[in-house]
């Protein structure tokens, strides 16, 4: 670990520092852009995100510490930087049409979105528990505000408050966990924790395990793992759909980035205690998410439970994290699946937004009846996303699940894998129901023209299918996005 001057620290974390600086700048610019001019801010946000992507890609293959070991640039953080910045771009594209069709267009939206992306990026780069906590707040607080963006609509305000209160509660668990780990090891830096555990300098092993478990709870809230998922359906349903789409991927991916980095570097020694916990949580999440989704008649709630279930599949691949030689596969399969999930997730929500009308009209499953003949393009895209969620070939969701199950089987957890495939079967039922309704029932669904939403859906669907067959680069990228070892 070398000491850098402060200036070079900013350069090392350039994608992140640039984005946060740009977001702060936009905060000021916002004051001078009249509310009627609705194109300026999204355009500036897109410019900032594109520059961030370019800066991140320029860092590919590099590896360096910053701020005295509090953050790091490595393949892992670069992967997530690109993923989050692209999510931000999609978030802008989705919001641009959606906010106008719902009469919500306000320029602050894009600034908040950029700050949240910045928080996510910091989350994947943080190597100090305190920085992880800061990053979590930086990504969450803009999301709390965005959830309430549709005020004075009651559901939206409720969603914001619920998300805020439960999020704050979860942060409490995380901070308390960090405090206990600090108590057990005398440091908050991950490198220090690793040294303490390896060097036998663990002051109190019991405290360490309890601290680790509490941190798992705190992050489990963020990624919506059962039984910490209670907020998800209400928040996903109440928040403006563009926010939901962004949050469903962004917050989950950021949470898993932190989980991966902490668990794979600092906690392998306590895997004997944590693996059974992860096993049970993953199994519960997959089961409950998928079973409860069957009962939903509102597409936003259904997708909310589906997102809970997917947190379960991701967590499933984390179960063998402590095994020698498997950490690369654990991380690569999770990263790969996050990309697969991102594409289907954004695409599916884009279709939902094309059909959503004011006052929560157009969100019932029955509102999709007849979409197959009325709008074959949207219906075909939605079918691709549903099949991908269910893990049916030839979609990226299938390849992603294949990778996850491979990791689990390599770890020797055959029963967990069997629970995984059986719950996939359950999930196929409610995903297919959407397809049944679209193609096999008559109806007259109303759609918005929304060119950006349609483009997003089309591009995502093409990606989901094409990457199944030509996914080589994505495989390489995910398997080379390595965590820096300490």
């Amino acid at each position: 670990m070398t000491l850098n001057t402060l200036g070079s620290d900013f350069v090392i974390l350039l994608p992140l520092t640039f984005l946060l600086g740009w977001a702060s700048l936009l905060l000021l610019v916002d004051l001078f852009v009249p509310q009627e001019r609705q194109d300026t801010m999204p355009l500036l946000a897109v410019l900032g995100l594109v520059a961030t992507i370019v800066l991140s890609i320029m860092q590919a293959g590099q590896s360096a510490w910053a701020f005295q070991g509090m953050a790091v640039v490595d393949g892992f953080s670069t992967f997530f930087n690109v993923l989050f910045a692209i999510s931000g771009l999609v978030g802008v594209a989705l919001a641009y049409d959606y906010l106008r069709q719902m009469d919500l267009a306000r320029n602050t939206y894009y600034t908040l979105l950029l700050f949240s992306v910045g928080g996510m990026m910091l989350m994947s780069a943080a190597t100090d528990l305190i920085v992880i906590f800061l990053a979590l707040e930086l990504l969450s607080i803009p999301l709390y505000v965005l959830s309430g963006f549709a005020r004075p609509k009651g559901e939206s305000e409720e969603a914001a408050l619920k998300y805020f209160l439960l999020g704050a509660f979860a942060s409490g668990f995380l901070v308390y966990g960090i405090a206990l780990v600090f108590g057990a090891t005398g440091t908050t830096s991950l490198a220090g924790v690793v040294q303490a555990v390896h060097g036998g300098a663990l002051l109190n092993p019991m405290l360490f395990i309890i601290g680790a478990a509490l941190m798992l709870i705190g992050l489990g809230f963020k990624v919506a793992v059962v039984p910490f998922h209670m907020w998800t359906p209400d928040v996903y349903q109440g928040a403006p759909t563009a926010v939901t789409a962004f949050m469903a991927l962004g917050a989950k991916a950021a949470g898993f980035a932190a989980l991966l980095r902490i668990f794979l570097t600092a906690f392998p020694q306590v895997s004997a205690d944590l693996t059974p916990v992860l096993w049970v949580l993953a199994a519960l999440t997959m089961f409950l998410g998928n079973v409860v989704a069957i009962a939903q008649r509102n597409i936003k709630r259904m997708l909310a439970y589906s997102s809970i279930a997917h947190a379960g599949y991701l967590l499933m691949a984390l179960v063998p994290y402590g095994q020698q030689g498997l950490s690369g596969d654990v991380s690569a399969s999770l990263l790969f699946y996050l990309v697969a999930y991102a594409l289907s997730n954004f695409g599916a929500w884009a279709v939902v937004m094309v059909l959503e009308r004011q006052d929560d009209q157009g969100l019932g499953l029955d509102d999709y009846a007849g979409l197959g003949s009325k709008s074959p393009f949207l219906a075909a895209c939605m079918t691709v996303f549903m099949l991908s969620f269910a893990g049916v070939p030839p979609t990226l969701g299938f390849v992603g699940k294949f990778y996850l199950f491979r990791t689990v089987l390599q770890g020797g957890f055959v029963w967990l894998a069997i629970i995984g495939v059986l719950t996939s079967l359950i999930s196929a039922y409610y995903y297919l129901r959407v397809v049944v309704i679209m193609y096999m029932r008559d109806g007259d669904p109303q759609t918005h023209p929304a060119p950006w939403l349609r483009w997003t859906a089309g591009v995502m669907a093409a990606g989901v299918v094409a990457l199944t067959f030509f996914g080589g680069p994505l495989f390489n990228w995910a398997s080379q996005a390595l965590l820096t070892a300490f």
Binding site: V392, F405, R406, L409, L422, V436, G472
Partner: protein
Amino acid sequence: MDFLTHPLNVVTFFPLLGVLVILFLKEEQKNTIRWVALITSLIAFGISLAVLVQFNAANPDLQMSINLPWIQVAGWNIHYFLAVDGLSILLLMLTTFLTPISILSTWTAIDERVKDFMIFFLLLEVGMTGVFLAQDLFLFYIFWEFTLVPMYFLIGIWGGPQRMYAAVKFFLYTMAGSLLMLLAILWLGINQGTFSVPELIAKGGIPADVQLWLFVAFALAFAIKVPMWPLHSWLPDAHVQAPTAGSVILAGVLLKMGTYGFIRFNIPLFPQAAVKAAPVMAALAVIGILYGAAVSYAQEDVKKLVAYSSISHLGFVMLGLFALNEQGIQGAILQMINHGLSTGALFLLVGMIYERRHTRIMDKFGGLWSIMPIYGALTLIVSLSSMGLPGLNGFVGEFAILLGAWGAGDAGGVLGSHYYAGFAAIGVILAAVYILFMFQKLFLGPITHEENKKLSDLNWREIITLVPLLILIFWIGLYPKPFFGLMAPAVGKVIALVHGAVMAALP
């Protein structure tokens, strides 16, 4: 360029070209769409004939293989691997042969959303062809699961009144079995380091107890597809609700994917487990034969009768496969083709009368022979073929299977008892009962319903649809030697593997 012009790639993916053309046509240009689909599938059949010409029947191994590294990162060893051998060549031909016939049968029957229908149908052909050619388990699984999607739409959009229920049931049942197979595939990939089927066979060395688990996981996927008793309950629903062309392909090809899976994967990959499981599989097969026949007899709806008869016929195929001797397996493969031809033809015939009369209840008919003599004559031939009359195709396959099962019942054979063959033979008699009973109800006796008097006999298009099937029915019945010749060396190779396993199991 080699990749794009490789005959197996062309035969698999050529229908996509038709899909592309159809995408650019308008829904109103119904006839153009139909012609494009028909010509596409005819060309695909032509290409498969070219494959057949190049095929060397004397070679027991995989031929014309195209084997390229596909996904090679992180210890994955997945190849894009297509090849054909004696086990699959006939099924490849059956697929490309039945597709144009099915498309021709929809000419007037499908008049709504013709564009979507033809797109799904051609996509289905891609999936089915891929299943029979893929030699890498990952690639195979992709094709295998992919066939569900177009079939699901074919049943769900163009099917009968209960179509949505039938479509979802079909999808979920099949997927349930496939998912456990997926885990078994992953186990093989992780522990054997390859997904390539010939490499896995050559490598061998899977402990006997693990073999049994893997065998069960694969067998479940395939047994649901076949379907074997007691996993058959999706089949009557799917068949009865599917449109005629869907039923033809479902019975003709999709069910064969299950039996093909047994001969391609279960038996060669897990020979010790196959020998151990043979009596159980054969017993289930015999139950299926008798159960299918008995339930067929009780049906009032002709289409349901044909659907249940499929369970009985595929029971014969399974019995032949798990006799694990030359006659049994050869008979089983031939019987796969026979069932595709006869049952395919029966579904076409049922579809033709349904199009005219909009009912399939047997009591609504009677005395049709005098009104529709051509229809009656053709139905008679196909029915006799289905019940296994000597001189027609069904007899050859069933006879070989029964011989095989009898041989396996000798001391030292895998079944060890002649009861299997004995009870299966009763199934042949029952088949004659339910089929002749059906024929009598439909065609003989006085005309009991006034509406039936106005029914028109078959037109030229319908006759052309059936004639190719009839030619093959007679050909296989009278001179089956070339068909056996195509498969014999490859079957011999499988038998050798099984013998090796029996020897290895001896103390």
